[in-house]
């Protein structure tokens, strides 16, 4: 936990990269997000905490427009990426490549380790072997997996351990050089040691990209996030610097209760 004190908001990081305004999402009749608004700043780590059913995953799916694969959903309000409303972006596949997504359960695609990482560049049209080699090595290095797998890149990704698969997933998410990296409770299925290795990885990535860290471990947000948002039942209760959220007097009593584990 050597990065414990590297966080804290630095005043220059206030250019918004994502602007969310009055975002409402319904699954059928059920409301998942009831009108939330906030900005994500360039090169910050924004922690998003909150209990189950609070709309965190839905929020991420709206941002990379994969919610469109779920039927019977309706979205109101707007999400802007670099000032452009994402619903107006024609090349949705290009949009998704600007955002790296890491899901709760590690998913090694049933391909070799190499092909796992080369998947996104290939679908985007990269064919040159040397370029692919370079991407695969860089991403596996960044995800702290290279040393463990460099001699067996043709092994199936599905044969790796859970912790390795999660780092493979992160390597894959980095393979299309995203500007924003979204992690959805990445530590839910990995051991504490791997969790800490990945936290180190995120700490080194913070200079290169914006990171949205959805987590069910409030301490993880405290360790890594510059700012933290607390969501509850589809509402954004509070968003502020991590120091304020975890202080003795955040703006909202519910935030204090949740962060200190005496919720409900």
């Amino acid at each position: 936990m050597k990065n414990m004190h590297t966080n804290g908001n630095n005043g220059s990081q206030t250019t918004p990269i994502i602007e969310i305004s009055d975002l409402k999402v319904h699954y059928g009749d059920k409301s998942a997000l009831n009108g939330i608004s906030f900005d994500v700043y360039k090169n910050e780590i924004l922690g998003i905490i909150g209990p189950a059913q609070s709309g965190k995953t839905t929020l991420l799916k709206v941002i990379n427009r994969t919610l469109e694969f779920t039927s019977q959903t309706s979205i109101e309000g707007s999400v802007k990426l670099d000032g452009v409303d994402i619903s107006t972006i024609g090349d949705v596949y290009g949009l998704r490549r600007r955002i790296g997504m890491v899901l709760p359960l590690p998913v090694g695609l049933p391909l070799s380790i190499y092909d796992n990482v080369a998947f996104a560049p290939r679908t985007a049209g990269v064919r040159a072997k040397s370029e692919l080699n370079e991407i695969v090595e860089r991403c596996l290095q960044q995800a702290a997996l290279w040393d463990e797998v460099k001699d067996r890149l043709d092994t199936l990704g599905t044969k790796l351990s859970g912790g390795q698969q999660q780092r493979l997933t992160i390597a894959r998410a980095l393979s299309h050089q995203p500007e924003i990296l979204c992690l959805d409770e990445f530590s839910i299925a990995v051991d504490p040691v791997t969790t800490m290795r990945i936290e180190d990885v995120l700490d080194t990535l913070r200079t290169e990209m914006t990171i949205l860290l959805v987590t069910n471990l409030v301490q993880q947000a405290k360790r890594l996030a510059d700012r933290t948002a607390f969501m509850l039942n589809g509402d954004l209760v509070e968003i502020d610097t991590t120091d304020v959220i975890f202080s003795d007097n955040p703006a909202n009593q519910a935030t204090y209760d949740y962060v200190n584990g005496n919720f409900g």
Binding site: Y93, L95, R96, L109, T123, T169, R172, S175
Partner: protein, 305 residues
Amino acid sequence: MNTDTQTSPQTMFTETAISRQKRHIENVMRVFLFVITSLMIIPLLLIIGYLFYKALPVLSLDFLFTNPKDNMRAGGLWAPFLGTIYLVVVSLLVSAPIGVFAAVYLNEYARDNWFTRITNLAVVNLAGVPSIVHALFGVGAFVLFAGLGESILAASLTLAIMTLPVIIASTTEALKAVPMSFREACWNLGATRWQTIRRIVLPNSISGILTGVILQVSRAAGETAPIMFTGAVFYKAIAEGDLFAYNIVEQCMALSLHLFTISTQVPDVTEGIPYGTAIVLVGTVLLVNAAAIVLRVYLRTRKKW
């Protein structure tokens, strides 16, 4: 361990009346279920053994490669054997691609709307239509309306319509067996639906898809009703040993109809011939199924998770 409770180390593992009863029921059920399962094997062995016993006098390579003779009272099976192969191959060439592509659409692309629901309903109901009704449809649609006449093509198309819904259903099952998380991972990486299907979904479901398709061979080969009005004839002599002896716009003989004819319509058939026909019919189907199993084993060894 808390020594205050009843479960001291001494008493913890001694058998109580309840646990003894549970153990007995467990044993009885295991034996019972094993016996029931074993019963499956008995009819198959009896059928095949009996057929072989009765057919033994006529079985030879000549039996397979010569045409029936003397009003089908003697001779071999070449014309019906080749006819069945034509019908099966042509019908699967039609139904397999259509069925697989339709299933890919329904499972991977279709949203839950009225069109999808109606299509699924149609598939389910089509699967439940009796084969004689398919035969009448075949006569109306292919023989008369499309003007194909009674021909291998018309009969094969009728068989294709009959096998289509089952191929769609089995392909759908194979596609559903590929975890949703694989698709989500691909979409998150900016892959289109088709890229996801081609690189991940199809390579990992192909063994299941092929199994479903090949199992329809036995249905197509065994059905009599759909072909007897659309393209199969009682008797037709063809060049012996020539694999291309049939033209698909002409009629053909078929093993299933031949078996029906010589068992019920022709008096004084040599006793072994109907049994030999049955053996060849079952043998052809088993051979294709065996090929399917080999193919599946091969594809499974390449399966990735």
